[in-house]
Symmetry: C2
């Protein structure tokens, strides 16, 4: 294990909040996490960013709509390159509100078929991120 090999391994670098928001804008799928009686649950969702919040659309009778209103949640997005072993991730932690309503203008397009009549808005308390990159 020479110095050269050690130096070439990717390092984790904290991202500032502006960069985190820019990266959040680049993805259409993220993961919504909440907590039920058995611990944390993590499910992929289509999301959008609007006025400093993260917006998700779901079915009114879905587990998400039932369980996350007024609860602490997290939204994670990331992108990794398996070949280069580099990438980035962003974590939004905050409180979710569920509104049963027609799709607002700032809602994301949901990929799965089926009626999505609930909007989940996550108001962030913290937004953090890290980049995994090779030192230059």
């Amino acid at each position: 294990m020479g110095t050269t090999e050690a130096n070439s391994k990717p390092v984790l670098i904290d991202l500032d909040e502006d960069t985190c928001w820019q990266l959040l804008e680049t993805v259409s799928v993220g993961r919504l996490a909440w907590v039920d009686a058995q611990g944390p649950v993590v499910v992929p969702v289509n999301l959008a960013v609007s006025a400093g919040s993260v917006v998700v659309r779901t079915a009114a009778y879905s587990t998400i709509a039932r369980e996350v209103d007024d609860s602490r949640v997290a939204v994670e997005v990331d992108l990794f390159d398996d070949q280069a072993r580099t990438g980035w991730s962003v974590l939004v932690r905050g409180v979710a509100r569920v509104l049963l309503e027609p799709a607002p203008a700032d809602a994301p397009t949901a990929w799965p078929t089926g009626t999505k009549s609930a909007t989940v808005r996550i108001r962030p308390t913290t937004v953090t991120g890290r980049r995994l990159a090779r030192p230059v």
Copy 2:
């Protein structure tokens, strides 16, 4: 909104547990979720599957090593195709154990530089997954 358009949208299909384990074997990055005083936390990790458990390596003094021992956690892996709007996800829920030890034979390779001297083993209580696919 004609029938044709509605039929062409992807549908969510539950995966059986064998398929979930096969998909877990195909990835080297997943997301580990746990719960702290502010709610759920979700962080990308390198992982491996071994003897019915999910194995993660981390630094002995990392937040993960400090916070997840003997706790309920979740591991989520997924792969989505932004163009086709299809993909799959698998969620492993269970209890984590943290062992401070040299890397065991079944540990994953961690991409970031730095000493990883803790092994996190997640023993699943449930393994579920869904595929988002266009109806044939």
